[in-house]
């Protein structure tokens, strides 16, 4: 981390840099009460007689207090960073603020109890440099998320922001920009991994006075939130990348299509666009070129398929978000029939760095065919959930076991042999198992394993996860999100879901699995867009790697993990039950009864198989769930 090297205030005269208190105000930390913490700091620091500013002012002050965007360590939020001390406090409450002020800001010491405890070693870690979750990451796109104030354009500029766009507009020709991006080997971070340079070149050569650039911020993959984090934490980096793309293809209108489920990201992007307009980067005379450049932030309306390029264009044009056949590609005929390029948030953020530092520098990390870094959203049953930016080619083991700190069991404890699988790439992706732990994570290796990078959602699953039920979960999702245009996607996904329901509810026969497999291949072949083409992937991938689990459901009417309700029968082992009544009190539906100190019983009619009893029981007396 190079947090110390930037934005400590330009004091110029060799004075010691001002101390900074940074409260993370991403969606996760705000949910934990970060805004109250920020307010408490603001009031109490002043009361302590410390000279504090909240705006970005390069001149000498004692202390600067500001909020930052999401740092991607949401589980431990609200996070408070103190610089230059390099202290990261986690799970900070309003009640902790007086102690932080007295001990850290006045005496310069860390408040031990608020430091992160490494679950593997039980050691307290002072800052990001000592926390394994951060240690193994190489953050570029996420670098400034968590230090700079996302609503302050001055701070972004002070840290070298808009230098790349200025360079692109004043010193580079569109050809040179496209060449540099092509040379860097940058591939689209939103899913397909298409070479960005080729996409830009296809639009650049179009002889049309009107062209558009769209930033695809419709991050629909459930389980992925890296785009939200970048927009909340460093919105100007996205905007700057968008401006460079506009220069490269000769567009004068740009658009950012953000998911409506991300209200904070929408707010921060709008603010960034407004500030950039005031600074003269957008408007009638962008970067003094005398040419206009505009940017509009548009909210999506909750349709996953709109992440597909042509569906997104339809949505922007005020239609139902349905894809159309390609060619013509959007680069030839896109929004309103004009040449249009659509790039993902993370792709655009990388563009800034490539223009600043050059293609060769970008290629130093990652693999030859997948250069650079990629942000994965590591979630599910791991000790450390959050955003992980690592070079392409990092192994799955490094990400899950080292950065993620290992797989956790139902009670949240790290279990050495708990790893069952990860689902990568969301509803379009597949699962990776134990045998893939040493697989390098890059576009081509993953494709050969029947999965894909997708947007980078990485959901770790422990032994208690039923893979059939996971396949059903994704099929339910794609079935609902199918736009209905292609018959095989619309009806095929519905029938696949019905077959999976048969399996899960105990109605399946040997034929069901054959039919499911055949139908999966048909849906792949008979669908127009990425949604339909990839919808069967989770089913095919789980059938490939966990066939025995499907067989248990179909032939033995038994769900090994007990997650499928119809095939799970939780019961209380009377030999183990001590009659402590804990489970009966915990049961949300009152299905457990029994006298004190006598074995309890579960009423199968009332039971919703939620597993709360199994979680509560200290004697492992609840079985089959």
């Amino acid at each position: 981390m190079s947090a110390q090297s930037n934005s400590n205030g330009a004091n110029g005269s060799g004075q010691k840099p001002a101390r900074r208190v940074i409260v993370c105000a991403g969606t996760g930390c705000v949910a934990g009460g970060a805004n109250d913490v920020l307010q408490a700091f603001s009031q109490q620091i002043k009361a302590a007689g410390i000279n504090v500013v909240t705006e970005f002012k390069p001149e000498q002050v004692d202390l600067r207090l500001n909020k930052s965007g999401c740092q991607g360590f949401c589980q431990m939020g609200p996070l408070v960073t103190i610089l230059p001390d390099g202290i990261l406090y986690n799970k900070v409450k309003v009640a902790d603020v007086p102690e932080i002020i007295a001990k850290t800001l006045v005496e310069g010491q860390a408040v031990e109890r608020l430091l992160y405890v490494d679950p593997a070693t039980k050691k307290r870690c002072r800052g990001t440099g000592e926390i394994p979750f951060y240690q193994r990451q190489q953050r570029f796109v996420l670098k400034n998320c968590g230090t700079i104030d996302p609503e302050c354009i001055q701070e972004y500029i002070h840290n070298g922001g808009y230098a790349a766009a200025r360079k692109a507009y004043s010193k580079m020709t569109p050809e040179q920009i496209v060449q540099e991006i092509t040379k860097s080997g940058l591939r689209g971070r939103g899913g397909g991994g298409f070479p960005t340079g080729r996409k830009w070149e296809a639009a650049r050569v179009q002889n049309n006075p009107k062209k558009y650039v769209i930033c695809n911020a419709d991050e629909g993959d459930p389980g992925a939130f890296m785009n939200r984090s970048v927009m909340e934490g460093n919105p100007h980096s996205v905007l700057e990348g968008l401006m460079i793309a506009a220069r490269a293809i000769g567009a004068d209108e740009t658009l950012i299509y953000v998911r409506t489920e991300y209200p904070l990201a929408v707010h921060r992007m709008k603010q960034a666009v407004e500030d950039a307009r005031k600074a003269g980067f957008l408007g009638d005379n962008a970067f003094g070129t005398g040419k206009p450049l505009s940017c509009e932030v548009m909210e999506g309306a909750g349709a996953f398929v709109c992440g597909e390029e042509t569906a997104m264009i339809a949505s922007i044009e005020g239609q139902r978000g349905m894809p159309r056949p390609k060619p013509p590609f959007p680069a030839q005929s896109g929004l309103w029939g004009k040449p249009t390029i659509i790039n993902n948030v993370e792709t655009l953020a990388h563009v800034v760095r490539i223009i600043n530092e050059g293609a060769d520098s970008f290629r130093k990390l990652g693999t030859a065919a997948s250069p650079g870094t990629k942000t994965f959203a590591l979630t599910g049953h791991v000790a450390n959930t959050g955003l992980v930016e690592v070079p392409f080619g990092t192994t799955l083991r490094d990400i899950v076991m080292k950065v993620g700190g290992g797989v956790t069991d139902r009670r949240g404890k790290i279990s050495a042999d708990g790893f069952k699988a990860v689902q990568i790439g969301g509803p379009s992706g597949g699962c990776l198992t134990r045998e893939h732990l040493d697989l390098p994570m890059d576009y081509d290796s993953l494709r050969s394993a029947g999965a894909m990078v997708g947007s980078g959602g990485l959901v770790a699953m422990n032994q208690k996860t039923c893979m059939v039920s996971i396949a059903r979960f994704f099929m339910d999702f794609t079935q609902r999100e199918s736009c209905g245009k292609c018959v095989l996607c619309r009806e095929g996904t519905r029938q696949m879901l019905a077959l999976l329901d048969d399996i899960i509810e105990g109605r399946a026969t040997g034929e069901t699995l054959d039919l499911l497999q055949k139908l999966a291949v048909a849906v792949q072949k008979g669908s127009l867009c990425g949604l339909g083409k990839t919808a069967p992937n989770p089913v095919l991938s789980t059938m490939r790697y966990f066939r025995e689990e499907y067989d248990a459901h179909v032939h033995h009417k038994y769900c090994p993990t007990g997650q499928c309700k119809a095939l799970a029968k939780p019961s209380i082992d009377p030999a183990k039950c001590k009659g402590c009544t804990a489970c009966a009190r915990k049961c949300p539906v009152g299905a457990i009864s029994g006298e004190k100190k006598q074995p309890h019983v579960i009423d199968q009619g009332k039971c919703i198989v939620c597993g709360a009893c199994a979680d509560t029981c200290k004697f492992e007396a609840v079985v089959g769930v």
């Binding site: 996760g28 949910a31 949401c74 459930p222 389980g223 239609q319 139902r320 919703i608 597993g611 709360a612």
Partner: protein
Amino acid sequence: MNKRKPEPTGRKFVKVCDILDRHGRKASRLVPILQAVQEEYRYLPEEVLTYVATALDVSPARVYGVATFYAHFAIQPKGKHLVRLCDGTACHVKDSVPILEAVRKRLGLEGKINTTQDMMFTVETVACLGACGLAPVMVIDDQVHGQMSPQSAVKLVEDVITKEAQ
């Protein structure tokens, strides 16, 4: 449809006109227009949809088609408090479904009904709120609550009920 609800009055159409004007009465702005209308009324009343269609000079079918295509748009009125349960992958593997069931049971919602009879609560699931680090997540009236359990979720709903009773 709830027939006892009063018809939108002239005053309401004034607001729709404001929204239409703000977007230059362009059919290409249909999605943002409907978003603004929903912001105003909390759902898309049929009469307003027809009005929007006429004002934009497109068929009511086109407007209805767009309104029903996107999950964010609601054709039915929603309850006073909106409870959204995240059922994204991360929340799902961390057992979001039992939370949904417990909340629905507490509010007496059965089958396909998502809104309580007294129009106090609507319970929905969303695909992903991007707060996966806090899974499982529940949102009540835009307030995000993380690391939920069936018990804590029901408790939050009961807190709202208690507040309403006062």
